[in-house]
Symmetry: C2
Subunit: 311 residues, 2 copies
């Protein structure tokens, strides 16, 4: 099966747009979804201009994961002068905790943050990495007694082209991290010559941890000057040692299609940025993704098809 | 007292040169010293050409910290294909452990390593950071139950000028690290406009943790094309919260002097790179430093003078 045929875009896309946000919002995208006891939450990336870009996290709720209601108040804003922006969240439910990984731009570099909440009211900040790092996605359970995250540090060795790799890190408690290892290198992804990075938090399958990642390629600049194309890929990580890739689909499973307007119109056109992967319990997954750095969109796939693609 | 008058260069400098190394050695510098039960050890940075640069750690021993005998075999070499070079060690004795922080260049970036040995025969590698990071220096005891290190991550925010900052990190066990905070920013150091970073592992004084750091400035390239000057500064960190600078000397305490040949001749001239600070128990310290990326040198100072400079 061609990779792209494994995935079906939701007919009601986009599922969330700035018009759905009950406060000032220029873009809402790169937002991540988790299941709750009675429905779904989406942790939102909200972009404002004040007049400089001001980025923070919002929250939306849904009973079916399709129709969303955005909370009237932000979920998490930059905390102090060190944080100029909080953005690109990933949310993972681990037991009764919702672990939110996010990026924050600061006066001392780009830092990866990890915060935990049980109720989306009180949020405890557990970790802020050294610069530069972002795009972390937490596994939904401890593996070998340790929390595991995928992330993307910025390595100067590649400074000319900036094609960063995808890494894994481990922690006993979410506060202290170590055992860092590269998982997937940009050179391995034919459509990731600018950079690759974690996308949606992984889900458990019998064949391994299934995770959707992103890759970016440079292209001729469009009318706005934006010159990258982002696509989504899929891979399987070993259940016991998730630093090992046991299968990967060489082709992207989602790339911007010419006839899909929300993937071609927006703040940064031709960006598909996967941020959520939900096991629907019926053999299917939902893939939530930011589209054109403007809105949120949804696609579905059979788990067996995605696993079969990971050769 | 002018800062430079607080420090006296040892008349027998340089104290270690490539000629003292009983195997192929192009340069021996940026090497770090710790006290043992009956003398001193120096963990060496050895540069070879094979014909590409090959960097690894050696070991020297001394009864007085002045005259050194280099072990006939290397202490620690690059472990596998991921490590192209192991260099710039700092050694700190913590109880009966010698903790060695080092930098390693790898195919996935510049990583900060931490290894522990009791006997300089068996070495246990505890940690390899995500890229890019280097120049770590460990405190000589746990503070508030945690190991503490100073280090220098590379932040892309400064990519144009590359003036990196000096940070602190904490760990319960040397394996997992967190609570990362910036300690000193390059903008605060008038002679650190290219970058600053940790130097010697700190020592305890009544006034705070005394530590010697480095700063680099760009200058007109010399005959070899090398275009930076490195100097050593001194600061005091709070005894209970070492992320807080309680005093710092605005001027460098050591900078390359025109009439000191080993600070002006070598692989990279005009580099003073402090890597060891030893409390001699008589109110004085020894400052060990790499000179011109070629040899090791030594200077002495009164602790009270250095503390008085940290206003």
């Amino acid at each position: 099966m061609p990779a792209k045929d494994a995935v079906t875009r939701y007919a009601g896309n986009p599922i969330l747009t700035p018009e759905d946000v009950p406060y000032d919002c220029r873009q809402v995208y790169n937002s991540s979804v988790a299941k709750t006891d009675d429905g779904y939450v989406m942790v939102l990336r909200i972009d404002q201009r004040r007049p400089e870009p001001y980025l923070f996290l919002g929250l939306a709720r849904s009973t079916d994961g399709l129709a969303w209601t955005v909370d009237p108040k932000p979920l998490m804003e930059p905390e102090d002068v060190e944080e100029n922006a909080v953005y690109d969240p990933r949310v993972t439910r681990i037991d009764d905790d919702y672990v939110i990984c996010y990026a924050t731009d600061t006066s001392v570099g780009i830092r990866l943050g990890i915060a935990v909440t049980k109720d989306f009211k009180t949020i405890e900040r557990k970790f802020l990495s050294e610069p530069d790092n972002r795009n972390a996605a937490m596994f939904p359970e401890k593996i070998g007694g340790r929390y595991c995250r995928l992330d993307r540090p910025f390595a100067r060795i590649y400074e000319k082209e900036r094609p960063y790799d995808l890494w894994i890190s481990y922690s006993p408690d979410l506060r202290y991290w170590g055992d860092h290892k590269p998982v997937l290198r940009w050179q391995e992804v034919s459509w990731g010559s600018h950079k690759i990075g974690p996308g949606a938090p992984p889900i458990r399958t019998d064949a391994g941890w299934l995770t959707v990642f992103h890759g970016a390629e440079l292209r001729e600049p469009g009318p706005t000057g934006w010159n990258k194309t982002y696509r989504a890929g899929v891979m399987l990580l070993d259940l016991e040692d998730p630093s090992v890739v046991v299968g990967r689909c060489e082709e992207p499973i989602l790339e911007p299609e010419p006839d899909v307007p929300y993937e071609n119109e927006g703040y940064r056109p031709r960006v598909i940025f996967p941020t959520g992967l939900i096991d629907m319990g019926d053999g299917r997954v939902r893939i939530y993704y930011g589209a054109s750095d403007q809105v949120m969109a949804l696609a579905t796939a059979k788990i067996a098809d995605l696993v079969a693609l990971c050769t």
